[in-house]
């Protein structure tokens, strides 16, 4: 028999979100109480299973325990005079959870997870709290883990989560999958939340580490879940493809000393072949569903990189064209900067530099270290050493993660070593 703590931990990881999602619904959208009830059910398992043996259907046992505790709680609050239609809630708990309780019919309410995801990502909640709430409720992360993910003290995160749950209750944010006419708009929000979470993990904006694997893994988990919940939605498939393709390169992206390794210098044998394969499959699936949005274009770029066996084989001309398309679909200075870098690879550093200069004179990315860093890189390739040096120094003044700082310092040393002495 697997040891009990690890069995419970796995059940928590795999099923907490689904159990909570169902209990929130039958408890009329009460997040806080539903979470407490499910946690109490897990605590009961921790006490009873060692004595009585692990039930044949652990999940069903947990759900039944949660149900009983939910009914108790509703009865108690009814006695205390809280204004809930207790009988109605109890009837709903009994009736709706009954079919789920024999374990075989576990899939009876796949919609509950989706309902929970859409409620967590409701636009009436602030963007960062949406993801935090999804991680807490749907992925079963502890408040401490969520706090760590967002680099805030646990007490701060606890307060934010409580405030969000209170808003859901008091402003009556409905626990529903949006109506078809609002679904597209609302799915965009869900995907954006997952994308932001992954981006933060993939290129941490602060701190000692370049990648925050925990965030990437959780974002992937949410993306997979959303994909399974909305199997016909093209952009969901694109987003999953995009995340998988980026995630597959994670080991090659960080050097042994924790430094940053750019794509052209990565050891491609370190790329995760199975994740890459899955990413390409998801990308094909997205295209088959008619995907063409911004995540699709980004996934297409990632797929072109994945398909190049060596950096020199990269189809930069096509990548530059895709970035051009992306500047139309999701305009923004960061996209333009990436386009400039691709153009430089496809048609030479001068053309890339012209685009970077345009961007710089527009004054839109003045506080972003990657703008002077990109400029410095192109000047270095053109052998314009003194200008490259100045640009590296500007980038160093703006950079906020330690590995990127070291990367820039190393490049600066290379440039200084190449600079001929003043005549």
């Amino acid at each position: 028999m697997t040891d009990l703590p690890s069995l419970l931990e796995r059940t928590w990881r795999d099923d907490y979100g689904r159990i909570v999602a169902t209990v929130i619904r039958v408890m009329g959208g009460d997040f806080g109480s539903a979470e407490e009830v499910v946690q109490e059910a897990f605590e009961a398992a921790l006490l009873q299973w060692p004595r009585e043996g692990v039930p044949t259907e652990p999940r069903a046992w947990l759900l039944r325990a949660a149900k009983n505790k939910a009914v108790d709680r509703v009865r108690r609050s009814a006695r205390l005079g809280a204004r809930v239609d207790a009988l109605e809630v109890i009837a709903r708990v009994e009736q709706e959870l009954a079919p789920t309780l024999d374990g075989r019919d576990w899939q009876a309410h796949p919609d509950d997870s989706l309902r929970l995801l859409f409620t967590c990502c409701h636009p009436a909640l602030a963007e960062d709290i949406q993801v935090a709430l999804a991680l807490r409720t749907l992925c079963g992360l502890t408040t401490e883990e969520v706090a760590r993910a967002f680099l805030v003290p646990a007490a701060t995160m606890a307060q934010r989560l409580v405030r969000a749950q209170r808003k859901i209750r008091d402003a009556r944010i409905p626990y529903v999958i949006p109506e078809p006419d609002a679904l597209a708009e609302r799915t965009r929000g869900v995907l954006h939340a997952i994308y932001l979470l992954f981006s933060e993990g993939h290129s941490a904006t602060e701190g000692m580490e370049l990648l925050r694997m925990d965030l990437c893994a959780e974002a992937l988990r949410l993306a997979r879940l959303t994909r399974s919940l909305l199997p016909r939605h093209p952009e969901v498939a694109s987003l999953l493809a995009l995340l998988l393709l980026h995630h597959s390169r994670r080991r090659a992206r960080v050097a042994d000393d924790g430094g940053l390794v750019l794509l052209d210098r990565q050891d491609r044998s370190l790329w995760d072949a199975s994740e890459m394969k899955e990413g390409l499959e998801q990308f094909d699936a997205a295209l088959a569903l008619g995907a063409h949005g911004p995540y699709t274009v980004q996934a297409a770029i990632a797929a072109l990189h994945a398909q190049a066996k060596h950096a020199a084989e990269t189809d930069w001309e096509q990548i530059a064209a895709l970035y051009g398309r992306l500047t139309e679909l999701a305009p923004g200075p960061v996209v333009e900067l990436n386009r400039a870098a691709a153009v430089a690879m496809a048609r030479g550093p001068e053309q890339g530099l012209a685009l970077v200069d345009d961007l710089e004179s527009s004054g839109r990315l003045t506080a972003y270290h990657l703008l002077p860093a990109a400029r410095a890189e192109l000047l270095r390739r053109l052998g314009r050493w003194r200008e490259a040096e100045a640009a590296y120094r500007r980038a160093l003044a703006l950079v906020r993660t330690e590995p990127e700082r070291r990367f820039l310092e190393e490049r600066l040393r290379e440039v200084l070593a190449s600079t001929p002495p003043t005549s």
Partner: protein, 120 residues
């Protein structure tokens, strides 16, 4: 559940608006009010006189202090409100997004506290 939909917009915009446009907006408002009365969402709704007519009053240590002007000087001002009955926030958002002024300013949605359980 009741929600208060507070309409904020730049009242100066109304002053400088061509007459035809003002009439068009007023027409839209009356059509909107009709439609939410028919759908049963309407509880009440009023337009307010501009903030230059506003008076703010406080009582401190039993003394009344009355001042000219609104509570806060802001770029957009409270110009009117609807009190609506909606089943949840999504319905309230849908109602708010049909208010004509939502295209010019914005609408703040606030759930109304229900005291009926504790006072009854």
């Amino acid at each position: 559940m009741k929600y208060l939909l507070m309409i904020y917009e730049n009242e100066k915009a109304w002053e400088t608006m061509p007459k035809a446009e003002t009439e068009q907006l007023m027409g839209e408002y009356s059509a909107y009010t009709d439609s939410i009365q028919k759908s049963g969402n309407f509880v009440s709704g009023e337009a307010l006189q501009p903030t230059q007519t506003a008076t703010t009053v406080r009582v401190r240590d039993g003394k009344r202090l009355t001042t000219d002007g609104p509570f806060a000087e802001t770029r957009e001002q409270l110009g009117g409100f609807f009190l609506v009955e909606a089943k949840d926030l999504d319905e309230a958002i849908a109602l708010a997004s049909r208010i004509p002024s939502v295209r010019l300013g914005c609408v703040e949605i606030r759930p109304v506290v229900d005291f009926s359980g504790t006072m009854g």
